[in-house]
């Protein structure tokens, strides 16, 4: 079979998964007496209906892209970096810490922002490498190690917000005291998104694309991911590469966390990672680890997230419904990949 035909069939199956997912959600909507057409048009309207909404979609897009870029690296090395949520959180904590250090000092705020973001990347990387060290040297599966580290990161985060970094007199779910505006990443006009965030995620995308497609390092990671034993026999230092994969992923996660602080919330909040880490893992699987698809699929998920707000407001649908749509989307697309392999594998 010619490659182009195979690719067409693949796309057909992916689309099939998409259609099935939408069909499934329609079915649920019908069961609860809601109009699917109205729901889907609201989703669309809610995501692209006006410039503010589009801007909001990009606010969500940025961290999803960065996180997905990160997990592609660990996926390539055959690792399930479940600890990514914690890495985002620690990144955000480091960023907040640095800004707090320089509040009320004469240091140039621009410099502080840059320093704080670097610190965020460092924090994410440290936390990721910790998961890697647990795996490589103690034999703790990265999934369990990551879950444990997520837990610790969350506890640390909440501990800081309600403890050492709490607002004067008031510990609040809304997070730490917001930073003065000079420490905000400049936003575009009155919109919520910042060109700098967009720029950083685009740079991230390009870096990851070339890292995985065009570098010796990326190829070695791929070899480790495909067969760790063979890669070792071919002379690749396998555990070092696994740690490096964690490190790179952690840098991206940390940057996502840093941007959540300096560009979105301007403070540390309890759920700073916002579940983007798990979403990144989901998207990574959905796009079958191909960097080229990160941007559009992340955009799609971001749009669902923002558009989904309309459903409870207008139709009084349960707020969990967009989550159901995202989940069933991933399930059905993966299902169709399995079906495709069965069907094509036969020939």
């Amino acid at each position: 079979m010619k490659p182009s035909r195979t690719r067409n069939i693949s796309i057909l199956f992916q689309l099939g998964g998409l259609v099935l997912a939408f069909g499934f959600v329609s079915l649920i909507l019908l069961l609860i007496d809601a109009d699917p057409i109205q729901a889907f048009s609201l989703l669309w309207e809610g995501a692209v209906g006006n410039t503010t909404r589009i801007a909001s979609v990009f606010v969500v897009w940025v961290p999803i892209v960065l996180v997905t870029c990160g997990v592609l690296v660990t996926f390539t090395a055959g690792l399930w970096n479940i600890g990514i949520e914690g890495q985002i959180t620690i990144g955000a904590i480091f960023t907040t810490g640095v800004i707090r250090m320089f509040l009320d000092t004469p240091v140039n705020p621009v410099l502080v922002i840059i320093l704080s973001m670097l610190a965020g990347m460092l924090g994410g990387a440290l936390w990721a490498v910790l998961a890697g060290v647990l795996k490589v040297f103690s034999g703790v599966n990265e999934i369990f190690g990551g879950l444990g580290l997520n837990f610790i990161a969350t506890a640390l985060n909440i501990g800081l917000i309600f403890g050492a970094w709490s607002r004067p007199g008031v510990a609040s779910m809304s997070g730490t005291e917001p930073f003065p505006e000079v420490y905000w990443l400049p936003t575009f006009q009155n919109f919520r998104f910042s060109w700098y965030s967009i720029l950083l995620s685009v740079i991230g995308l390009v870096v990851i694309y070339f890292l995985l497609q065009g570098t010796h390092f990326g190829l070695r990671l791929k070899a480790v991911g495909k067969s760790i034993k063979s890669a070792f026999r071919l002379g690749i230092t396998t555990w070092q590469h696994m740690l490096l994969a964690f490190l790179v992923c952690g840098v991206f996660a940390g940057l996502a966390g840093a941007l959540q602080v300096v560009a979105v919330y301007h403070r540390l909040i309890p759920s700073i990672s916002s579940g983007y880490g798990f979403m990144g893992l989901m998207i990574g699987m959905l796009i079958n680890y191909q960097a080229i698809w990160v941007a559009p699929i992340a955009l799609f998920f971001a749009a669902l997230n923002i558009g989904g707000i309309q459903l409870p407001i207008v139709m009084k649908l349960d707020s969990a419904l967009t989550g159901v749509l995202q989940g069933s989307l991933v399930l059905f697309v993966l299902l169709m990949q399995g079906v495709k392999q069965r069907v094509l594998g036969k020939q």
């Binding site: 969350t154 779910m173 809304s174 403070r267 759920s271 700073i272 409870p312 009084k316 707020s319």
Partner: protein, 416 residues
């Protein structure tokens, strides 16, 4: 063969899904038959006279607690003020709605036609201020906030914002008195959430009420009253981070506490009290926030201090419609004529089935005294660390109570 079958099944599935979606609008008029009394139409029909108000709820609209109290207040406004319609969005918090802020969501409500927006949580303070500043044409009610209190410590002049809060201090005093009247062991436990100015003043109020009734109605030595607070660290249980409220409640019970006053959003205190009572060890609990909170375990529920936001919202929405809006900070007392009157009071106290008739009379006497002007925030009162809070005869100002920096002497437990 198998291959063909798979294709066939898939085709049928896809086609049926498409047909289902496509046929929907013409096929069904969508009768909301079994939906419970939905007052408003699902479609945003714009009528010229209609006044739409939006509400952002921090928790689920049916949480049997804080958010449900607000949601029911919104329904109360629609019933009593023709021409108004509520739209709302619940679970407005960053954990449930990643990547969004309350300010952004408020703007979505405005896009759906809201002319006034209610922020129902102290946690939304920054967003409420930001939104109010950026949308000078939209009226904002921030419940539990203090941003437009000129004497307050967080004053921001915002002509289109109103702050509303009920004087729950009275509710908690009544709860404290109730607890003191029922304790056999002289030990009262307060299941506290996180520590802040608001929670501190509510614990202190409970203590003041308990102490007053213990001494004046029961004639006991104040030194014999044991009043403890244990903070779990948050409004509800987060395994691993907060202390487990179930364990804290049990710890209370095991160390002789027989009345638990709950300051958290969930019902562990009631559940554990019922369990202990079932085992032959009579323990009572007093929940918080919502008028129907006793339903979880009525037999051990002494009563519940509850918020009634409806009248205040009705008043402010009316003034917004009439053009008589005024930016104010309101800290509203109960209607002393009938503290449980849904049309007039800001907070109330509903007695639960666990209450004995004798004590009910004493409690009513306490309420009457409060109504008659009894002020418990009068010196001499010391802080927990022994320093003087109020000298002999000195009355606390609103400012001193609102921003209470420490617990009071006599309360066991952490101040920060």
């Amino acid at each position: 063969m198998k291959k063909k079958l798979v294709f066939w099944v898939l085709t049928v599935l896809m086609v049926s899904a498409l047909i289902l979606t496509a046929c929907q609008p013409s096929a069904e008029p969508a009768p909301p038959a079994e939906e419970p009394a939905q007052v408003e139409e699902p479609e945003p029909v714009e009528e010229p006279e209609e006044f739409v108000f939006g509400m952002l709820l921090v928790g689920p609209y049916n949480d049997r607690g804080w958010s449900q109290a607000h949601h029911e207040a919104g329904e109360y406004v629609m019933e009593n003020l023709p021409g108004t319609r509520m739209i709302y969005l619940d679970v407005v918090n960053t954990a449930d709605r990643p990547g969004t802020t309350a300010a952004q969501l408020a703007e979505e409500l405005v896009q759906q036609g809201a002319q006034l927006v209610v922020f129902n949580s102290d946690d939304m303070k920054d967003d409420a201020v930001e939104f109010t500043r950026n949308n000078p044409d939209v009226y904002v009610i921030h419940a539990s906030g203090d941003s437009v209190w000129a004497e307050g410590e967080n004053y921001v002049p915002l002509p289109n914002m109103v702050n509303v809060m009920g004087e729950m201090e009275y509710g908690k005093m009544i709860a404290g008195c109730d607890a003191a009247l029922h304790t056999q062991t002289g030990s009262i436990g307060y299941l506290g959430p996180l520590i802040n100015e608001e929670t501190r003043r509510l614990v202190a109020s409970s203590y003041l009420g308990a102490q007053y009734c213990w001494e004046n109605y029961l004639g006991n030595d104040p030194a014999d009253l044991n009043f403890r607070v244990t903070w779990i660290g948050f409004w509800f249980n987060i395994p691993g981070f907060t202390e487990d409220p179930t364990q804290v409640a049990n710890e209370f019970i095991n160390t002789g506490v027989d009345v638990i006053i709950s300051g958290i959003d969930t019902t562990e205190a009631l559940v554990e009290a019922r369990k202990a009572t079932g085992e032959g060890n009579q323990v009572y609990a007093i929940p918080y926030d919502y008028v129907g909170a006793c339903d979880e375990a009525p037999e051990v529920c002494l009563g519940v201090p509850w918020y009634n936001w409806g009248p205040a919202y009705l008043r402010h929405i009316t003034s917004a419609m009439n053009g008589t809006w005024e930016s104010v900070f309101e800290w509203l007392p109960p209607d002393w004529g009938d503290i449980n009157n849904h049309d007039t009071t800001a907070i109330g106290y509903v007695s639960g089935p666990g209450m004995s008739p004798d004590n009910e009379a004493l409690l009513q006497q306490f309420i009457d005294e409060l109504a008659g002007g009894l002020n418990l925030w009068v010196g001499p009162l010391n802080f927990q660390d022994g320093t003087t809070f109020l000298a002999e005869g000195q009355e606390a100002t609103d400012h001193e109570i609102w921003y209470l920096p420490q617990l009071l002497e006599g309360i066991e437990g952490r101040s920060e």
